[in-house]
Symmetry: C2
Subunit: 193 residues, 2 copies
Protein backbone atom coordinates (compact mmCIF):
# COMPACT_ATOMS: atom_id res chain seq x y z
CA UNK A 1 0.00 0.00 0.00
CA UNK A 2 1.38 3.39 -1.05
CA UNK A 3 2.20 5.91 1.61
CA UNK A 4 -0.49 8.30 0.42
CA UNK A 5 -3.12 5.63 0.88
CA UNK A 6 -2.61 5.52 4.62
CA UNK A 7 -5.41 6.60 6.91
CA UNK A 8 -5.18 8.02 10.39
CA UNK A 9 -7.59 6.68 12.98
CA UNK A 10 -9.30 9.32 15.12
CA UNK A 11 -10.88 7.91 18.27
CA UNK A 12 -13.01 10.54 19.99
CA UNK A 13 -13.79 10.94 23.72
CA UNK A 14 -13.56 7.31 24.82
CA UNK A 15 -12.91 8.41 28.41
CA UNK A 16 -14.29 6.80 31.56
CA UNK A 17 -16.56 9.79 32.30
CA UNK A 18 -18.32 9.41 28.95
CA UNK A 19 -18.17 5.66 28.52
CA UNK A 20 -18.60 3.78 31.78
CA UNK A 21 -22.24 3.14 32.71
CA UNK A 22 -23.18 5.40 35.64
CA UNK A 23 -20.36 7.85 34.96
CA UNK A 24 -21.09 11.60 35.25
CA UNK A 25 -21.52 12.27 31.52
CA UNK A 26 -22.30 8.76 30.34
CA UNK A 27 -23.37 8.23 26.74
CA UNK A 28 -25.75 5.25 26.73
CA UNK A 29 -24.37 3.66 23.58
CA UNK A 30 -20.65 4.15 24.20
CA UNK A 31 -19.68 1.22 26.39
CA UNK A 32 -20.77 -1.46 23.97
CA UNK A 33 -18.72 0.03 21.12
CA UNK A 34 -15.44 -0.67 22.90
CA UNK A 35 -14.83 -4.05 21.15
CA UNK A 36 -15.43 -2.59 17.68
CA UNK A 37 -13.15 0.39 18.38
CA UNK A 38 -10.55 -2.05 19.65
CA UNK A 39 -10.89 -3.99 16.40
CA UNK A 40 -10.24 -0.81 14.40
CA UNK A 41 -7.34 0.06 16.72
CA UNK A 42 -5.78 -3.37 16.27
CA UNK A 43 -6.10 -3.00 12.49
CA UNK A 44 -4.28 0.35 12.55
CA UNK A 45 -1.62 -0.96 14.91
CA UNK A 46 -0.98 -3.90 12.60
CA UNK A 47 -0.80 -1.64 9.55
CA UNK A 48 1.42 0.82 11.50
CA UNK A 49 -0.86 3.67 10.52
CA UNK A 50 -1.18 6.72 12.80
CA UNK A 51 -3.64 6.73 15.68
CA UNK A 52 -4.96 9.83 17.42
CA UNK A 53 -6.83 9.58 20.70
CA UNK A 54 -8.79 12.81 20.85
CA UNK A 55 -10.09 13.53 24.33
CA UNK A 56 -11.85 16.22 26.28
CA UNK A 57 -10.51 18.07 29.29
CA UNK A 58 -12.01 20.84 31.44
CA UNK A 59 -10.41 22.82 34.22
CA UNK A 60 -11.87 21.94 37.64
CA UNK A 61 -13.26 25.47 38.13
CA UNK A 62 -15.25 25.28 34.88
CA UNK A 63 -13.51 28.38 33.51
CA UNK A 64 -13.07 26.79 30.08
CA UNK A 65 -16.25 24.73 29.63
CA UNK A 66 -19.01 25.55 27.11
CA UNK A 67 -21.43 28.08 28.63
CA UNK A 68 -24.33 25.65 28.12
CA UNK A 69 -22.62 23.07 30.33
CA UNK A 70 -21.31 25.40 33.00
CA UNK A 71 -24.13 25.19 35.51
CA UNK A 72 -24.36 21.40 35.48
CA UNK A 73 -20.59 21.08 35.72
CA UNK A 74 -20.35 23.44 38.68
CA UNK A 75 -23.49 22.55 40.60
CA UNK A 76 -23.91 18.87 39.87
CA UNK A 77 -21.00 16.80 38.69
CA UNK A 78 -17.72 17.85 37.12
CA UNK A 79 -16.21 15.55 34.49
CA UNK A 80 -13.10 15.21 32.32
CA UNK A 81 -10.96 17.01 34.88
CA UNK A 82 -7.25 16.27 34.29
CA UNK A 83 -5.77 14.06 36.96
CA UNK A 84 -9.03 12.27 37.73
CA UNK A 85 -9.70 8.64 36.83
CA UNK A 86 -12.80 9.76 34.94
CA UNK A 87 -10.77 11.79 32.48
CA UNK A 88 -8.64 8.81 31.47
CA UNK A 89 -9.17 6.81 28.32
CA UNK A 90 -10.95 3.51 29.01
CA UNK A 91 -8.63 0.67 29.89
CA UNK A 92 -9.29 -1.36 26.71
CA UNK A 93 -8.31 1.53 24.41
CA UNK A 94 -5.34 3.05 26.24
CA UNK A 95 -2.80 4.59 23.85
CA UNK A 96 0.46 2.73 23.30
CA UNK A 97 3.81 4.48 22.58
CA UNK A 98 3.76 6.08 19.14
CA UNK A 99 0.05 6.96 19.32
CA UNK A 100 -0.99 10.57 19.89
CA UNK A 101 -3.21 12.03 22.56
CA UNK A 102 -4.89 15.27 21.54
CA UNK A 103 -6.72 17.31 24.17
CA UNK A 104 -9.66 19.33 22.97
CA UNK A 105 -11.68 21.92 24.80
CA UNK A 106 -14.69 22.09 22.51
CA UNK A 107 -16.70 19.61 20.43
CA UNK A 108 -14.52 19.32 17.34
CA UNK A 109 -11.18 17.57 17.43
CA UNK A 110 -9.94 20.23 15.03
CA UNK A 111 -11.00 23.28 17.05
CA UNK A 112 -8.08 24.85 18.87
CA UNK A 113 -5.91 21.75 18.70
CA UNK A 114 -2.76 20.68 16.88
CA UNK A 115 -4.58 17.81 15.12
CA UNK A 116 -4.54 19.36 11.65
CA UNK A 117 -0.85 20.34 11.96
CA UNK A 118 0.11 16.82 12.97
CA UNK A 119 -1.90 15.09 10.24
CA UNK A 120 -0.31 17.38 7.66
CA UNK A 121 3.18 16.65 8.99
CA UNK A 122 2.46 12.94 8.57
CA UNK A 123 1.23 13.45 5.02
CA UNK A 124 -2.20 12.09 5.94
CA UNK A 125 -5.14 13.01 3.76
CA UNK A 126 -7.57 10.29 4.81
CA UNK A 127 -9.04 9.86 8.28
CA UNK A 128 -11.35 7.28 9.85
CA UNK A 129 -13.41 8.61 12.75
CA UNK A 130 -15.06 6.68 15.59
CA UNK A 131 -15.92 7.10 19.27
CA UNK A 132 -18.59 9.12 21.00
CA UNK A 133 -20.98 10.81 20.60
CA UNK A 134 -22.66 11.16 17.21
CA UNK A 135 -24.45 14.53 17.46
CA UNK A 136 -21.67 16.48 19.15
CA UNK A 137 -17.97 15.63 18.99
CA UNK A 138 -18.20 13.06 16.21
CA UNK A 139 -20.28 15.23 13.97
CA UNK A 140 -18.28 18.44 14.45
CA UNK A 141 -14.99 16.57 14.01
CA UNK A 142 -16.24 15.03 10.77
CA UNK A 143 -17.59 18.30 9.37
CA UNK A 144 -14.37 20.12 10.27
CA UNK A 145 -12.33 17.27 8.79
CA UNK A 146 -14.17 17.63 5.49
CA UNK A 147 -13.83 21.42 5.67
CA UNK A 148 -10.06 21.03 6.15
CA UNK A 149 -9.86 18.86 3.06
CA UNK A 150 -9.60 15.36 4.51
CA UNK A 151 -11.23 12.35 2.92
CA UNK A 152 -13.29 11.18 5.89
CA UNK A 153 -14.72 7.77 6.74
CA UNK A 154 -17.06 7.19 9.66
CA UNK A 155 -16.86 3.81 11.39
CA UNK A 156 -20.52 3.38 12.17
CA UNK A 157 -20.47 0.40 14.52
CA UNK A 158 -17.55 1.89 16.48
CA UNK A 159 -19.42 5.15 17.14
CA UNK A 160 -22.23 5.85 19.58
CA UNK A 161 -25.05 8.11 20.73
CA UNK A 162 -27.61 8.17 23.54
CA UNK A 163 -30.16 6.34 21.34
CA UNK A 164 -30.14 4.42 18.02
CA UNK A 165 -32.50 7.06 16.56
CA UNK A 166 -30.00 9.84 17.22
CA UNK A 167 -27.24 7.72 15.70
CA UNK A 168 -29.27 7.00 12.56
CA UNK A 169 -30.32 10.60 12.04
CA UNK A 170 -26.69 11.71 12.28
CA UNK A 171 -25.36 8.98 9.99
CA UNK A 172 -27.91 10.05 7.38
CA UNK A 173 -26.77 13.69 7.52
CA UNK A 174 -23.09 12.74 7.55
CA UNK A 175 -23.50 10.39 4.57
CA UNK A 176 -25.28 13.21 2.75
CA UNK A 177 -22.15 15.39 2.73
CA UNK A 178 -20.20 12.59 1.07
CA UNK A 179 -18.55 10.89 4.03
CA UNK A 180 -18.18 7.13 3.66
CA UNK A 181 -20.15 5.47 6.44
CA UNK A 182 -18.79 1.96 6.93
CA UNK A 183 -18.68 -0.69 9.60
CA UNK A 184 -15.24 -1.60 10.88
CA UNK A 185 -15.39 -4.82 8.85
CA UNK A 186 -16.36 -2.96 5.67
CA UNK A 187 -13.60 -0.40 6.27
CA UNK A 188 -11.13 -3.25 6.75
CA UNK A 189 -12.07 -4.76 3.39
CA UNK A 190 -11.79 -1.34 1.76
CA UNK A 191 -8.27 -0.61 2.93
CA UNK A 192 -6.93 -4.11 2.51
CA UNK A 193 -8.33 -4.27 -1.04
Amino acid sequence: MEKEERYALIIVDMQNDFVLPGSPASVAGAYKTIPKIREALDMFRKLRWPVFHVIREYRADGSDIEITRLRGFREEKPYCVPGTKGSEIVEELKPVPGEYRIVKNRFSGFMNTELDFMLRRLGIIQIAVCGTQYPNCIRTTIFDGVSHGYDVSLLTDATSAQTPEIAEANIRDIANIGVKCLTVAEFGKEVRG
Copy 2:
Protein backbone atom coordinates in the same frame (compact mmCIF):
# COMPACT_ATOMS: atom_id res chain seq x y z
CA MET B 1 -12.04 49.86 40.28
CA GLU B 2 -14.95 48.64 38.16
CA LYS B 3 -15.01 45.05 37.03
CA GLU B 4 -14.66 46.03 33.39
CA GLU B 5 -11.45 47.90 34.17
CA ARG B 6 -9.65 44.74 35.15
CA TYR B 7 -6.75 43.51 33.09
CA ALA B 8 -5.52 39.97 32.65
CA LEU B 9 -1.77 39.40 32.81
CA ILE B 10 -0.36 37.18 30.07
CA ILE B 11 3.12 35.86 30.85
CA VAL B 12 4.63 34.15 27.81
CA ASP B 13 7.13 31.26 27.68
CA MET B 14 9.03 31.88 30.92
CA GLN B 15 10.12 28.24 31.01
CA ASN B 16 13.53 26.94 32.06
CA ASP B 17 14.43 25.91 28.49
CA PHE B 18 13.98 29.49 27.24
CA VAL B 19 15.10 31.42 30.30
CA LEU B 20 17.98 29.78 32.12
CA PRO B 21 21.41 30.72 30.74
CA GLY B 22 22.86 27.74 28.89
CA SER B 23 19.46 26.11 28.37
CA PRO B 24 18.69 24.49 24.99
CA ALA B 25 16.65 27.37 23.56
CA SER B 26 17.92 30.18 25.77
CA VAL B 27 16.87 33.76 24.99
CA ALA B 28 19.75 35.99 26.06
CA GLY B 29 17.60 38.72 27.59
CA ALA B 30 15.06 36.55 29.38
CA TYR B 31 16.73 35.67 32.67
CA LYS B 32 17.20 39.23 33.83
CA THR B 33 13.52 40.11 33.30
CA ILE B 34 12.41 37.68 36.01
CA PRO B 35 12.30 40.34 38.78
CA LYS B 36 10.20 42.74 36.69
CA ILE B 37 7.79 39.98 35.67
CA ARG B 38 7.56 39.00 39.33
CA GLU B 39 6.73 42.63 40.15
CA ALA B 40 3.88 42.58 37.62
CA LEU B 41 2.74 39.20 38.92
CA ASP B 42 2.69 40.45 42.52
CA MET B 43 0.65 43.48 41.39
CA PHE B 44 -1.94 41.26 39.72
CA ARG B 45 -2.04 38.88 42.68
CA LYS B 46 -2.66 41.79 45.03
CA LEU B 47 -5.39 43.20 42.79
CA ARG B 48 -6.86 39.67 42.38
CA TRP B 49 -6.88 40.09 38.62
CA PRO B 50 -6.57 37.04 36.36
CA VAL B 51 -3.14 35.67 35.46
CA PHE B 52 -2.41 33.40 32.49
CA HIS B 53 0.90 31.59 32.19
CA VAL B 54 1.15 30.80 28.50
CA ILE B 55 3.78 28.18 27.77
CA ARG B 56 5.10 26.10 24.93
CA GLU B 57 5.10 22.33 24.71
CA TYR B 58 6.32 19.98 21.98
CA ARG B 59 5.95 16.23 21.76
CA ALA B 60 9.28 14.42 22.22
CA ASP B 61 9.20 13.01 18.66
CA GLY B 62 8.88 16.49 17.15
CA SER B 63 5.65 15.56 15.40
CA ASP B 64 4.01 18.85 16.34
CA ILE B 65 6.87 21.37 16.14
CA GLU B 66 7.13 24.11 13.49
CA ILE B 67 8.77 22.73 10.35
CA THR B 68 11.52 25.34 10.59
CA ARG B 69 12.55 24.02 14.01
CA LEU B 70 12.19 20.33 13.31
CA ARG B 71 15.74 19.49 12.32
CA GLY B 72 17.38 21.28 15.26
CA PHE B 73 14.89 19.75 17.68
CA ARG B 74 15.47 16.22 16.41
CA GLU B 75 19.17 16.29 15.69
CA GLU B 76 20.51 18.68 18.31
CA LYS B 77 18.54 19.40 21.42
CA PRO B 78 14.85 18.90 22.14
CA TYR B 79 13.15 21.46 24.40
CA CYS B 80 9.81 22.15 26.07
CA VAL B 81 8.98 18.46 26.24
CA PRO B 82 6.25 17.82 28.84
CA GLY B 83 7.52 16.06 31.92
CA THR B 84 11.04 17.49 31.65
CA LYS B 85 12.46 20.07 34.06
CA GLY B 86 13.20 22.31 31.09
CA SER B 87 9.53 22.61 30.17
CA GLU B 88 8.58 23.92 33.61
CA ILE B 89 7.97 27.56 34.40
CA VAL B 90 10.96 29.14 36.17
CA GLU B 91 10.86 28.78 39.93
CA GLU B 92 10.34 32.49 40.67
CA LEU B 93 7.23 32.71 38.49
CA LYS B 94 5.51 29.40 39.24
CA PRO B 95 1.70 29.66 39.03
CA VAL B 96 -0.28 29.65 42.28
CA PRO B 97 -3.78 28.16 42.62
CA GLY B 98 -6.32 30.27 40.72
CA GLU B 99 -3.87 31.17 37.96
CA TYR B 100 -4.20 29.55 34.56
CA ARG B 101 -1.66 27.59 32.57
CA ILE B 102 -2.27 27.64 28.82
CA VAL B 103 -0.25 25.33 26.59
CA LYS B 104 0.43 26.56 23.10
CA ASN B 105 1.94 24.73 20.18
CA ARG B 106 2.75 27.69 17.96
CA PHE B 107 4.00 31.24 18.47
CA SER B 108 0.80 33.02 19.41
CA GLY B 109 -0.91 32.42 22.73
CA PHE B 110 -4.20 32.71 20.86
CA MET B 111 -3.47 30.14 18.17
CA ASN B 112 -5.20 26.83 18.84
CA THR B 113 -5.65 27.48 22.54
CA GLU B 114 -8.56 28.19 24.87
CA LEU B 115 -7.11 31.60 25.88
CA ASP B 116 -9.70 33.70 24.06
CA PHE B 117 -12.59 31.59 25.40
CA MET B 118 -11.35 31.95 28.96
CA LEU B 119 -10.74 35.70 28.76
CA ARG B 120 -14.26 36.16 27.38
CA ARG B 121 -15.76 34.05 30.16
CA LEU B 122 -14.02 36.29 32.68
CA GLY B 123 -15.32 39.42 30.97
CA ILE B 124 -11.78 40.60 30.30
CA ILE B 125 -11.22 43.13 27.51
CA GLN B 126 -7.80 44.42 28.53
CA ILE B 127 -4.61 42.38 28.62
CA ALA B 128 -1.04 43.14 29.67
CA VAL B 129 1.58 41.01 27.93
CA CYS B 130 5.13 40.21 29.05
CA GLY B 131 7.68 37.38 28.85
CA THR B 132 9.81 36.14 26.00
CA GLN B 133 10.66 36.65 23.22
CA TYR B 134 9.83 39.89 21.42
CA PRO B 135 9.96 38.89 17.73
CA ASN B 136 8.13 35.59 18.01
CA CYS B 137 5.68 34.65 20.73
CA ILE B 138 5.29 38.12 22.23
CA ARG B 139 4.69 39.79 18.93
CA THR B 140 2.26 37.20 17.53
CA THR B 141 0.33 37.09 20.82
CA ILE B 142 0.02 40.89 20.81
CA PHE B 143 -1.05 41.12 17.18
CA ASP B 144 -3.60 38.33 17.67
CA GLY B 145 -4.80 39.98 20.88
CA VAL B 146 -5.46 43.22 18.99
CA SER B 147 -7.09 41.26 16.16
CA HIS B 148 -9.41 39.58 18.66
CA GLY B 149 -10.48 42.95 20.01
CA TYR B 150 -8.47 43.23 23.22
CA ASP B 151 -7.01 46.47 24.48
CA VAL B 152 -3.37 45.37 24.77
CA SER B 153 -0.52 46.76 26.86
CA LEU B 154 3.05 45.57 26.52
CA LEU B 155 5.22 45.57 29.65
CA THR B 156 8.49 46.57 28.05
CA ASP B 157 10.93 45.94 30.90
CA ALA B 158 9.33 42.57 31.65
CA THR B 159 9.79 41.33 28.09
CA SER B 160 12.94 40.14 26.36
CA ALA B 161 14.77 39.32 23.14
CA GLN B 162 18.18 38.01 22.10
CA THR B 163 19.51 41.59 21.79
CA PRO B 164 18.37 45.11 22.78
CA GLU B 165 18.24 46.03 19.08
CA ILE B 166 15.71 43.32 18.35
CA ALA B 167 13.68 44.41 21.37
CA GLU B 168 13.65 48.06 20.27
CA ALA B 169 12.74 47.30 16.68
CA ASN B 170 9.80 45.21 17.87
CA ILE B 171 8.59 47.74 20.44
CA ARG B 172 8.55 50.36 17.69
CA ASP B 173 6.40 48.22 15.43
CA ILE B 174 4.10 47.17 18.28
CA ALA B 175 3.64 50.78 19.44
CA ASN B 176 2.81 51.71 15.85
CA ILE B 177 -0.32 49.56 15.85
CA GLY B 178 -1.60 51.37 18.93
CA VAL B 179 -0.47 49.06 21.72
CA LYS B 180 0.52 50.87 24.91
CA CYS B 181 4.18 50.13 25.62
CA LEU B 182 4.83 50.74 29.30
CA THR B 183 7.29 49.70 31.96
CA VAL B 184 5.83 47.72 34.85
CA ALA B 185 6.07 50.85 37.03
CA GLU B 186 4.25 52.97 34.43
CA PHE B 187 1.59 50.30 34.04
CA GLY B 188 1.17 50.21 37.81
CA LYS B 189 0.54 53.94 37.92
CA GLU B 190 -1.90 53.65 35.03
CA VAL B 191 -4.11 51.01 36.63
CA ARG B 192 -3.94 52.37 40.16
CA GLY B 193 -4.88 55.83 38.89
